[in-house]
């Protein structure tokens, strides 16, 4: 099963260390593989190094993609991590 969702990084400061940790924690519990895709570059959302290196800046558009048995739940959780911690609570 594959699930996908496009989101915008709304945090003024972009995606950096501490928020990156939140994304990794949200993605990690799922059996599915979870990726963030930006400008054709795909990284593993369970890897802090990967998420940081993606270095998404404010206003950029990302795709959250998950492949596996709990794909849609995983996408939802990661999107929520973005919404809760980057956007308005």
């Amino acid at each position: 099963m594959t699930a996908e969702l496009e989101i915008k990084v709304t945090n003024r400061l972009g995606l950096h260390a501490r928020p990156a940790a939140l994304v990794v924690r949200a993605a990690s519990p799922f059996a599915s593989e979870v990726f963030l895709v930006k400008d054709g570059v795909r990284i593993n959302a369970k890897s802090i190094m990967g998420v940081m290196m993606l270095a998404a800046e404010c206003g950029s558009t990302l795709v959250i993609r998950a492949e596996g048995p709990d794909a849609s739940a995983a996408v939802k959780a990661v999107a929520q991590a973005f919404a809760q911690n980057f956007g308005e609570d």
Binding site: A17, A20, A21, N44, S47, I48, M52, M53
Partner: protein
């Protein structure tokens, strides 16, 4: 004498023997291993990761005890780096397929990430390089069997000199052994500076020039007010340092002498003097100053960098600690006063033309129920253990809004009932009076509100229609304006009619001249910056309650702030002649 300069990040002075912190930077070169060694090399890598992880977990735990939540989060990302499966996979793959040593494989992989971050336009991401570097160094030192830099040789209080100190270094060191730090790396906003500030260590970073000692134990003076580091300082520099130390010591003595004394007028009328706090770290200082509770804790300062709002657990931890520190004395937690001049809320859609009259405080919170709920949950729960927590709501502007806020708080409380967590049922809910409309409604409000706290800064600004940050009109901003005094009097009268305690926070409360007027008006509690508390206690005893009331009566007959001011001055002159102290204002 030799002097080098850098960036002062904390303030303060310190002098003592210099201690050179050796960087112990591991050298990594490409090295190959025989195929037979692949398995043991991976095992070695696993062991190194585990040991580094144990270290960091211990450091994080220590940081949680010594620093507030936001600061200790620095170590969360570092721990996740050690758990990074992707990184692990790349390293072990390289060991298996290329037959290279673990340290070379790891080093190479980390370097790739560092290079990407180096190029980032985001300052925070560039700073992450320092954190990643620190973790990588730790792992590689274990892989090479090198000793971790524990600074174990540091035995006497010293000034630490280093190319770079990490947040972990600072957290691990006993505070009393570190007089000050001076480093070549670092900036005002990086994590090391953040931790130094949190721990109150005088620090000069980004030093251009040589930090090497000419001999062991050479005397070093760090001036973290101006960003200078003196090696073998001369007489002038030492004199300046001594004068500063003496001033600090004298202030400390005053604080100690008065700290345990109650605040009483000459005829024994008692006032509770409490502290306004922004950070947990200030709590200790406030206690040394003799604060009889926290009259105002500005919770919006809990998020240092404005990246995101602290979650429930982080807030609960902070509020609980504060409640515990001051129990059984009251701790007043004010819900976020975001917006307006406090632009910590990084996610604001756009700037408002007139933020002081705009979307802020409870107006914003009522529009963001999830945010509001999280904060109130933490407050209700934090109140459970010691029962000394009060919740204060800023910027209420009409009765209906107060009812809405209260209803919201009570709904959060009922949700908690179903969850089986500990919370206090009867947390006093109070309104901050800073909008004139609410001052006019004070009587009806008092019937439904557990306590009042008057925020004078905004109240005066709104009442007199003066922006005190605007130099063209700032002189019109005056707490002695008779209309201000009358408004304060009406608020206190309404509170007393309903038996509600009423406190005053804001700059007027720290203004010693205004003290007799505020006492005359009938405030039971003053909440001020901690440093002003000893002086308030010291001069409160110069006059009696009837004298303060008499002065207020006279003052209210005046038409101008200037007239009020003259009367107040005359009264102080009379009192100080009587006490023989000289004019203390």
């Amino acid at each position: 004498m030799r002097v080098v300069r850098g960036v002062a990040v904390t303030g303060g002075y310190a002098m003592g023997p210099g201690f050179q912190v050796e960087a112990n930077v591991p050298r990594v070169a490409q090295s190959n291993i025989p195929a037979s060694q692949v398995r043991s090399e991976i095992q070695k890598f696993n062991r190194a990761l585990n040991r580094a992880k144990r270290d960091l977990q211990a450091i994080r735990k220590r940081a949680l005890r010594r620093l507030e939540g936001r600061v200790s989060e620095i170590f969360d990302a570092q721990l996740l780096m050690l758990d990074d499966r992707e990184l692990y996979h790349h390293v072990t793959q390289a060991i298996k397929s290329e037959h290279i040593s673990a340290e070379w494989a790891y080093h190479r992989q980390v370097e790739v990430a560092m290079e990407v971050l180096q190029k980032s336009k985001d300052e925070y991401l560039r700073q992450m390089q320092g954190d990643i570097g620190a973790v990588a160094r730790r792992v590689i030192q274990y892989l090479q069997g090198l000793k971790q830099r524990t600074l174990a040789d540091l035995r006497i209080p010293s000034v630490l000199l280093a190319d770079q100190l990490t947040p972990a270094d600072l957290v691990q060191l006993p505070r009393d052994l570190v007089l000050a730090i001076a480093t070549r790396a670092g900036s005002r906003t990086d994590h090391t500076a953040l931790v130094a500030r949190s721990l109150g260590i005088p620090a000069v970073v980004g030093v251009r020039g040589d930090l090497a000692l000419e001999r062991k134990g050479q005397r070093v003076l760090v001036d973290a007010e101006h960003g200078s580091v003196y090696f073998s300082p001369g007489r002038t520099e030492i004199a300046r340092y001594v004068a500063h130390t003496r001033r600090t010591a004298r202030a400390a003595l005053d604080r100690e002498r008065l700290a345990d004394q109650p605040a009483l007028t000459a005829d024994g009328h008692r006032i509770s003097v409490q502290a306004n706090l922004e950070l947990l770290q200030e709590a200790g200082f406030a206690q040394t100053c003799g604060a009889e509770g926290v009259g105002l804790f500005r919770t919006e300062f809990l998020f240092l960098s404005g990246e995101r709002l602290p979650d429930m657990e982080t807030q609960l931890h902070a509020y609980r600690r504060l409640a515990k520190l001051f129990a059984p004395r009251p701790v007043t937690l004010r819900v976020y006063d975001l917006g307006g001049d406090k632009l910590f809320y990084a996610h604001r859609a756009e700037d408002e033309p007139n933020p002081a009259l705009g979307w802020r405080a409870v107006r914003l919170l009522l529009d963001r129920p999830a945010l509001f709920r999280t904060q109130l949950t933490a407050m209700y729960r934090a109140a459970a253990e010691y029962g000394n927590v009060r919740i204060l709501f800023p910027m209420i502007s009409h009765l209906a809004e107060w009812r809405k806020v209260k209803e919201f708080a009570l709904s959060v409380r009922s949700e908690l009932e179903g969850e089986g967590v500990e919370f206090l049922h009867d947390v006093p809910l109070g309104a901050m009076i800073e909008v004139p409309a609410l001052a006019i409604e004070a009587d009806r409000l008092a019937a439904d509100c557990a306590f009042f706290s008057v925020g004078t800064n905004d109240l005066i600004q709104y009442l007199l229609a003066v922006d005190r940050a605007n130099p063209l009109v700032a002189k019109l901003y005056d707490g002695f304006h008779p209309a201000v005094l009358k408004t304060l009097q009406a608020i206190v009268k309404a509170a007393k009619a309903h038996g509600r305690p009423v406190s005053i926070c804001g700059d007027l409360a720290s203004d010693l001249r205004a003290l007799p007027l505020l006492v005359g008006i009938g405030f039971d509690e003053l909440s001020t910056v901690p440093g002003a508390i000893p002086q308030i206690k010291a001069v409160l005893g110069d006059f009696t309650l009837p004298e303060a009331e008499g002065l207020l009566k006279e003052a209210l007959e005046e038409e101008t702030a200037h007239g009020v001011d003259l009367r107040v001055r005359r009264a102080w002159k009379r009192w100080s002649r009587r006490t023989g102290k000289g004019d203390s204002r």
